[in-house]
Every structure is written in C-alpha cells, then in structure tokens.
Point group: C2
Chain length 111, copies 2
Amino acid sequence: MVQYQELDKSLAALADPTRRAVLQRLGGGSATISDLAEPFGISFTGMKKHVRVFLDTEIVTTEKLGRVRQCSLGPRRLDDVQAWMDDYRRMLDARLDRFGQLLERTKEESK
Amino acid sequence: MVQYQELDKSLAALADPTRRAVLQRLGGGSATISDLAEPFGISFTGMKKHVRVFLDTEIVTTEKLGRVRQCSLGPRRLDDVQAWMDDYRRMLDARLDRFGQLLERTKEESK
C-alpha cells in the first residue's frame, strides 16, 4: 500500500499546470522560492505551498544556502508514474488484440 | 490552455487507487456501476462519483443498456499524460548530460 500512496501523491502533485511548469523550470537549474514565484505572478506563500507538495513526494528537494532556500529536482524520475502508464498501455494493447482476434473469427465464420 | 486543463483532469483522475483499479477492471471488459462497486466494498453512489470523474476526461464512457448503465474504457489512451512524461524524462536526461559534461571538463582542467 505504501507504494500506492506514493503514486497517488506523485499524480496529484503533477495535476496542476503551475507545478508542472515549476518542474520544467527546475530542469534548467536550481532556484529560490522567489525565483520560482516571480514568472507566475503568484505570492511567495503560494509558491511555497506548491513546492511543499513536491517535497512530500521527493520530486523536488530543498537546501538552505545562507539565508535562502534553494529548490532543485530531487532524485526521483517519476518511475512509479511511468510504470503505471506502461502497465495501462500494455493492458489496452492486449484488449485491442482480443478485439482483433474476435473480428477475425467473426469474419471467418461468416465466409 | 484547453489541453492543459485536460491533462490536469487526467492526472487528478488517476491520483486515486480505487479509480486506477477500476480502469484495470474495465480493461477486462465492460461492467455496470454495481459490478464495479462490489469488489471494493463501496456504495453504488460512491462508485458513481468515481466513474463520473472519468466521464469528464473521456477515459471511461457509459452506455445505457436496458435499465442499467454499462461502463467501458473510452477511446483515450492517456496520450497527454504519456507525452508530458516523455518531455519530463527527456529534460532529466538532458540535465544528466550537462552534469556529465561539466564533470568531464572539471576532470580535464584538474589534470
């Protein structure tokens, strides 16, 4: 169940356009909360809340450097999300194959 | 922005273990709300709410057959979620490459 809860948190963290844009920004290098907040025109407190959602999932990590906290992408590559997506798409492919076989059989029988 | 809102909805819809399990179940074939509710031990109304979240995103479709409503997987393959994941992982790879190059250069300079 622990793994499931992690996946829930990862997916919920990604379900927000600002948070997804923050990840793209951090891909270019680490940034302070103020750096992150500015281009979105949201408050420091608002951005801090978004970052906290990522800290829970370890998608983002922070480090205190002097008086400011620097945010960076964490070690997680969202492998749990990708693994779920892979399973889902494999299931869809298997379903499509079954439909195909059924169609073939129906064609054969109606000959 | 429309595309972003769809992606938000898809990710939020997936951020629940019961809803993900419902998709796996529907992969095996269509089912009524009651069929879906039973193995989870949740109420008809509770499952109806979960299914409604999927209807919004067209991940699941329903069809009225006689007196019951049959749920099936919709035409969407979550391509928007996969596309975002692909972009994200490409960005992580590019970041790793930059770190590698930086490390190489540092090694060269310290020779």
